[in-house]
């Protein structure tokens, strides 16, 4: 039986760019170049490996919710080897919080049809790391999250979750939602062939009305949190820099003693 895998990927502002907030205190997604969140590349990679381990008997759909530019994230995932893409794009989505995003993605995942949903561990802009758990809650499927190792066989997903206190071996029946960490294995680079093939792969565009989601449940208005203030952290004042001429360790000790650390 062919496995239906949906990978949730986010288009995010480049972390090495000058990330900031727009006037309405939402993440400015216009002024800074974006890309497929690096942490979601790991999700695409694991989906591809699961498909390979399943003898190619799987169909991978990459799903994003985002503005026009977010199609770049889908293209990248398609060029890595995903089969098709779904892009939820609607004016009303500007400023949606994680609860709204999860509502939309849950509807979209159901629209596509799924046995397995694969997410990244966190988006590199919002860095909440909770969407996969919420998605599982909404879909009513097991959550098998923050895995550094994952495998799917015989209708079951298994994986290893490395926590602070312990490392856990987990198991759940499909359908399930998983998320994978950046310890799960380097993501592949798209090949030239992959990039060419991606151009011909289908991208389905959806609006909220296609998913039966009411606009009042999303966007800034529908958000259940409000940002009252945003301040830029003051730049750190320039420190003292010395060149080690043989006494660097001692000079540093002198400084630390002056600061009462030793």
């Amino acid at each position: 039986m062919s496995l239906r895998i949906v990978v949730c990927v986010k288009y995010v502002p480049d972390a090495t760019g000058d990330r900031h907030f727009a006037e309405d205190r939402t993440t400015d997604r216009e002024a800074v170049d974006g890309l497929l969140s690096e942490l979601d590349e790991y999700a695409v990679e694991q989906a591809l490996q699961i498909k390979e381990a399943n003898g190619g008997e799987a169909e991978i759909t990459v799903l994003t919710m985002g503005g026009d530019d977010a199609k770049d994230a889908l293209r990248k995932a398609l060029s890595m080897g995903a089969d098709k893409a779904v892009h939820v794009n609607d004016e009303a989505l500007h400023g949606t919080d994680v609860l709204g995003t999860s509502l939309v993605l849950a509807k979209a995942v159901e629209h596509v049809g799924y046995d397995l949903v694969v997410c990244g561990m966190a988006s590199t802009d919002g860095t909440m790391g909770v969407l996969p758990a919420i998605l599982a809650e909404r879909l009513g499927t097991p959550q098998v999250t923050l895995l550094s190792e994952v495998a799917v066989a015989d209708g079951k997903v298994t994986g290893r979750r490395d926590g602070d206190a312990a490392s856990e071996q987990l198991e759940a029946s499909l359908p399930a939602v998983v998320s994978v960490t950046d310890q799960s294995g380097e993501a592949r680079y798209p090949s030239f062939k992959g990039i060419m093939a991606a151009k011909k792969k289908p991208v389905e565009a959806l609006e909220l009305s296609d998913l039966g989601v009411d606009a009042s449940a999303v966007g800034l208005e529908g958000s259940w949190t409000a940002v009252d203030g945003v301040t830029e952290r003051p730049a750190r004042t320039a420190g003292t820099i010395v060149k080690d001429e043989g006494e660097g360790g001692k000079q540093l000790a002198e400084y630390l003693a002056g600061q009462k650390f030793i």
Partner: protein
Amino acid sequence: MAEVLVLVDHVDGAVRKPTLELLTIARRIGEPVAVHLGAGADTAASTLGEYGATRVLAADAPEFGGYLVVPKVDALEQAVEAVGPVAVLVPSSAEGKEIAARLAVRLGSGLITDAVDLEAGDDGPVATQSAFAAAFTVKSRVTNGVPVITVKPNSAAPEAASAAGAVEPLEVSFGDAAKGTKVVSRTPRESTGRPELTEAAIVVSGGRGVNGAENFHVVESLADSLGAAVGASRAAVDAGWYPHTNQVGQTGKTVSPQLYIAAGISGAIQHRAGMQTSKTIVAINKDAEAPIFDLVDYGVVGDLFQVLPQLTEEVESRKG
């Protein structure tokens, strides 16, 4: 007085420090009521009471250890129903955030994660968060439902404030989803005897410049002389030189110690995300152009294999 629920992070009743911070913060908003899930509530209760918990709602069941996340969501949801709190505070661990997130959906509540501070406000608690690798500070609040807020370690100094800490059993019934994800086996981490990375007053981290697992002892020796925790950059972790649990940065731990010492670390944005809010920052790097020097209070341009041992020796001799 209004009550605030605090989910306790503990190991068999040994309460972890971030929970004491949460109890301290909760008192700014109302009376803290602790929720203790798993074994050891009676042991935990005296500590929880000492830090201001008026009541300790306790439940133990095999489901908490045997299945991932959901049983604890069920329990916390039922604690919310029983208490009717003005806010729910949860430690910002990976598990804590997932519990909080699912709870928020069930309660129809707004969710705030990774708060680094929390104050009472006219329209409910106001959280402070760091954004974009700590380049920004954001103030936010929940506008719908009972606020569910996860709070990072080191967000407040724990202050004792004696309260009853009376243990009350919490009746929990588990829903269909509770047994969805089975924990087949669990291997506890071995303790290194060093302070917890996220709780330490001083952190000494090594990066690619340490150049091998066999060299990490220069970082460890300095850390031990200072009573510090040891951190590592992702490059050092990916190379297999140091465990991932010690990684500092976006996909590792966020630390905010009094003193952070970076040795052989360039200072990439993802590393800065995890250490930028440290009070004092010191770096040792042989490249004078390394971006880490933009952050430092004191920097030494030099070879860490010269500088660190000399510093360690100096620290030891000053200790006398």
